[in-house]
Symmetry: C2
Subunit: 209 residues, 2 copies
DNA sequence: ATTTTTGCACTGACCAGTCAGTTTAAAAAT
DNA sequence: ATTTTTAAACTGACTGGTCAGTGCAAAAAT
């Protein structure tokens, strides 16, 4: 298991330990919440000594904050990639929105525990990691807002839409539908769920279809 | 003795105390989460001794469960009323959906803390009140599903829509948009937010408008 | 040789739940 | 009317347990 360090000083062993801790923490916190999850549990599930947690992270809160940043970083990158790919392929803004819906679903499909945890913490106030959460939320929502704004500028969307609120509503639509999917109809395919949301997104609900 | 408890107003001493405890608990738990909120805090904010909490509720969890039931009961009643009123006035199913969106917004406007708390707990697993939450969620979503199903039967909605998933998506849309409203643009009026969501609901996003 | 991990004992703060005793107010007795 | 009785409602100090974080010497990995 030798992994030569192409990058500077950063040790690979340490990184692997941190990754194990992220994975252990994310599922436990998703299930139980931050306060109800103990550091001993996290260490045990990660197969690591408690001292190692504190060797790698300053505190339980810091571990959680870095976990949040890590996870949302993945989501944001994925959304951005979807929007850019669509644009490069000459798709419309609606196509871009649709591609982002799918990217969101793929993310939630792959990291359901992280999504649960994120939703559970997002609207809390008076918490230590409040500011981290705000920053990280804004990065993700901003990608959606960007596409909406471009669409309005290009005359593709009505200039009467409320960009900020509409972005929030779209994110909510995907988030809640996907969590419902995972919780109550896990046997359904991603394509299936995507198709249902596309229909809603494009207003193809009314009418006999 | 004979506490004349049947006075329909429900204004026995005990009932008043329980109400105070609900109000104290809902804001604290919304801010901090269940585990991070102590019974001492709840008692203090309610202006009551800790023992009183345990005189009125079997445990901290039971207090929370009854709080959940209480709150979702209000929401469900409100959604149902909105749907029925619209039908009685001869409105279409889209009108009913729209009225329910507004009822949801009104509820969140009035009980923002409850909404926060509800969303934060809804998708958690392995929690004591899991089953309570499921039941209570289903009651609320079922109202939306009912309207969608009627609409499909009446040919008002496409028979290709996925009722369950669409209902979840609609609930999510309103929930997330409203929490965003309260968190980041609290100065906006309810009508304003409602208008933005109506537009999205009716697919009036694409096009120059 | 240095970084990282382990194992484990320890501390001090914190907290859910208990319980013996006190207050409240309505009913019964005088 | 006034006093006495009763049961429900409430109080708050106390207990037993839990948990984040520490300290450190030895071991393992690089």
């Amino acid at each position: 298991m030798e992994r030569s360090s192409a990058t500077s000083g950063g040790s690979t062993r340490r990184e692997a330990t941190r990754q194990k801790l992220y994975e252990a923490a994310v599922t436990l916190i998703a299930e139980q919440g931050f306060s109800a999850t103990t550091v001993d549990e996290i260490a045990e599930r990660a197969g690591v000594a408690k001292g190692t947690v504190y060797y790698n992270f300053a505190s339980k809160s810091v571990l959680f904050e870095e976990l949040l940043r890590h996870g949302v970083g993945l989501l944001t990158a994925s959304l951005r990639e979807a929007a850019e790919r669509t644009a490069a392929e000459g798709g419309s803004r609606v196509d871009a929105l649709d591609a982002m819906v799918r990217a969101g679903l793929v993310f939630i499909d792959r990291y359901p525990a992280f999504t649960q945890l994120y939703v559970a913490e997002l609207w809390r106030t008076n918490r230590a990691w409040q500011s981290t959460l705000m920053v990280v939320r804004q990065e993700a929502v901003a990608v959606v807002e960007g596409v909406l704004r471009e669409g309005v500028a290009a005359g593709e969307f009505s200039d009467e839409i409320d960009v900020q609120l509409t972005a929030a509503a779209l994110v909510g639509m995907v988030l809640v539908a996907a969590l419902d999917w995972k919780s109550f109809q896990p046997e359904r395919s991603l394509d299936d769920v995507h198709a249902a949301l596309s229909r809603l997104l494009q207003g193809r609900v009314s009418g006999k279809g």
